[in-house]
């Protein structure tokens, strides 16, 4: 059994293909700009219910999904916009879903916390903490029995690692040797409760040992490091070598949800420190330092992303709400 802490391993060793690096940068920026806009929409009163932003955590969703094919399965979380964008959900369908519109990927029935887009393998985003893990195990079982070489990936937070579902799912995936990759986005807080207060281990990946599967902890704000460690796990899964638990240490710069300022249980200093570790700025510096993109290129990507996000939000705002006569569709 092995465990690595791969701090900033992105620099050096193997150089990833420029197209992949640019894709990862663009996707992370898309998530950031999209969520900033979503927050504005929420403040305007255009979004029903609860909205949980992943600002600061973009490298996890992107570094993981950069390894996946369209037919690989993903189960997301209540903090799932970034995961959805990284897995290929079109921005307009996602925005419309969050606004509760008929043109949303779930026709407005799911909302921000339950994004699904089966065409791109995003099966569901499970807003009951921990509950998604067994679903991913089942997707893995289905893959194994149907003998395809897909993989199933489950995202969840540090809080979920204390649920029974986490432990039951890891045990099942291990005994049945299923192609499942468990991605723990450890942003250190389950709403306001610090992981040290709630969790028996220093690194959540330590729990892999109890289930006899490989476990790793990685710097979740280093998209290249996330990409590489997940790539190995995906290879193992496709080769029939079973599941992996990967803990990505990261931080949500914003509050738990749009109603939480996020400062009652954290210091301003801590938040500022993590802002300096912004995964998007880090990759931007890497791209410039390695001569992959110029400032000018990056600014062009920035404007293109902003235009796409603007279009998506406009589409969502202008889309119709579901028709009242269809409220009882899709129950059975």
């Amino acid at each position: 059994m092995y465990k690595l802490l791969r701090e900033a391993e992105g620099e050096g060793l193997e150089r990833l293909h420029s197209d992949l690096l640019i894709w990862m940068y663009t996707k992370m920026l898309e998530i950031r700009r999209f969520e900033e806009k979503i927050e504005e929409e929420y403040r305007k009163g255009l979004i029903p219910g609860l909205v949980h932003l992943s600002i600061g955590q973009e490298a996890v969703a992107v570094g993981v999904c950069a390894n996946l094919r369209d037919d690989d399965y993903v189960i997301g979380t209540h903090r799932g916009h970034g995961i959805a964008i990284a897995k290929g959900v079109p921005l307009d369908k996602l925005a419309a879903e969050i606004l509760g519109k008929e043109t949303g990927c779930c026709k407005g029935r799911g909302g921000s916390m339950r994004v699904a887009y089966v065409d791109k393998g995003l099966l569901y985003s499970c807003p009951i903490v921990g509950t998604g893990l067994p679903l991913a195990v089942g997707a893995g079982l289905s893959i194994k029995l149907r003998k395809t070489n897909q993989v199933a990936v489950c995202f969840f937070g540090d809080g979920a690692s204390n649920t029974g579902d986490f432990h039951e799912a890891l045990n099942l995936a291990s005994i049945w040797r299923l192609p499942v990759i468990f991605i723990c986005e450890n942003n250190m807080y389950a709403i306001s409760v610090h992981v040290k207060k709630s969790t028996s281990v220093e690194n959540i990946s330590d729990r892999a040992r109890g289930y006899n599967i490989p476990g790793f902890t990685v710097d979740g704000n280093d998209v290249i490091a996330v990409y590489k460690i997940v790539r190995e796990a995906v290879q193992r899964a496709r080769n029939g070598e079973g599941p992996t638990l990967i803990e990505c240490k990261t931080y949500r710069i914003v509050g738990h949800g749009t109603t939480d300022p996020g400062i009652a249980y954290r210091t301003i200093e801590e938040i500022e420190e993590w802002k300096r570790k912004c995964p998007i700025d880090r990759l931007r510096r890497y791209l410039i330092a390695n001569g992959i993109l110029s400032e000018e290129d990056l600014n062009r990507i920035g404007s293109e992303v902003e235009a796409r996000v603007r279009e998506a939000i406009k589409f969502a705002e202008e889309s119709p709400y579901p028709s009242p006569d269809q409220v009882a569709e899709y129950v059975y």
């Binding site: 189960i75 779930c106 569901y124 195990v137 089942g138 893995g140 149907r146 045990n171 099942l172 899709y330």
Partner: protein, 337 residues
């Protein structure tokens, strides 16, 4: 029982369920069976009550899977498998253990299709057994049928005869919605006739188990044989002619058959072995009161378990399960009224 053109055989309720599983697994390779002790059990053949007997021998351990004691985990996994191309039939040993996976059943299975705007279907059957009647006590004897009727997105089935058990399980496996399928320990060894030929019983159709004119008895699951024997006695001893209806499927409920019967007999009794409060009977009584009140000549009566956890002692447990005499008493009360 005779169905024209069919050869009939007498088999037990357990054998009927076992045949349904075997036939559907042969018919559709996506069907898999999962649960505790389904491969071997005490007998080495499969299942503590032999419902999954010999399935592993025929279909192998990939399709007939023993699970850890991990209901939330393996029901969640079955749901995950159902939305990605398999048709899992999950066994939950006692209906009480449904509570160990209530989150996956209610928050996930029942909601996935709706919350994804119809993108997903969840073709999963969760078979379980009501353990009542064998002294296994408070947390092994509950009858939680009504709890699941309260959840949009779930279908709820509770057959009372071998014929219905086989035909409904086959329909349930072919259905594309999540289904909670209630079996009953007290029915497992009962015998009945089933055709040699293949047949199914559609979901959502009640069955008139006995025709009658004086009153309607709607009986659920374990209480159907009891209601039928009560009806026989009522006829013999009091010349009261009761119609006995088994809804067989509680969701979707065949209201029409019940309402038509009440419009004919003008009296209704509902018999269930679960707790009366907010039970199946409460729902059926409300429907009849709402939709056919003018036809009622007497108050609707519910015969059900008292508001007491199931005791282990046989001297006490029998007091918590409605008897033939309880039904007869209730019938005479409303006919005298």
């Amino acid at each position: 029982m005779y169905i024209r053109g069919c050869t009939m055989r007498e088999i037990t309720y357990v054998e009927a369920l076992n045949e349904a599983l075997r036939e559907e697994m042969r018919r559709d390779e996506r069907v898999i069976v999962m649960g505790e002790d389904v491969q071997l059990g005490y007998s080495g053949r499969g299942g503590l009550f032999l419902v999954t007997a010999d399935l592993m021998r025929e279909f192998g351990p990939e399709r007939v899977r023993d699970t850890p004691i991990s209901e939330e985990g393996f029901v969640g996994a079955a749901i995950g498998a159902a939305i990605t191309g398999l048709k899992p039939v999950v066994e939950i040993m006692y209906a009480d253990f449904l509570l160990c996976c209530m989150n996956q059943i209610v928050n996930v299975a029942a909601k996935l299709r709706y919350s994804t705007g119809g993108q997903l279907k969840v073709p999963i059957v969760i078979r379980t057994m009501i353990g009542q009647g064998r002294g296994v006590g408070s947390d092994h004897s509950q009858v939680p049928i009504a709890w699941f009727m309260n959840v949009p997105g779930l279908k709820v089935v509770a057959p009372s005869t071998p014929y219905d058990a086989k035909g409904l399980l086959k329909s349930a496996i072919r259905d594309e919605s999540p289904i909670i399928f209630f079996e009953s320990f007290l029915l497992y060894r009962t015998k009945g006739f089933v055709p040699t030929e293949e047949y199914i019983v559609p979901l959502g159709e009640a069955d008139v188990k006995r025709k009658g004119t004086d009153l309607t008895i709607v009986a659920i699951s374990t209480m159907v044989p009891c209601a039928l024997s009560a009806a026989k006695k009522l006829k013999e001893e009091f010349n009261i002619d009761a119609e006995v209806i088994d809804p067989r499927t509680l969701v979707p409920l065949d209201k029409k058959t019940i309402i038509n019967s009440v419009m004919k007999t003008n009296r209704l009794i509902i018999v269930e072995s679960g707790v009366k409060t907010c039970g199946v009977g409460a729902e059926i009584a409300s429907i009849v009161a709402e939709e056919t009140f003018d036809y009622l000549d007497a108050p609707i009566k519910r015969v059900a378990a008292p508001h007491i956890p199931a005791p282990a002692s046989p001297a006490l447990e029998q007091l918590t399960i409605p008897s033939e005499n309880d039904i007869i008493r209730a019938v005479r009360e409303i006919l005298q009224g």
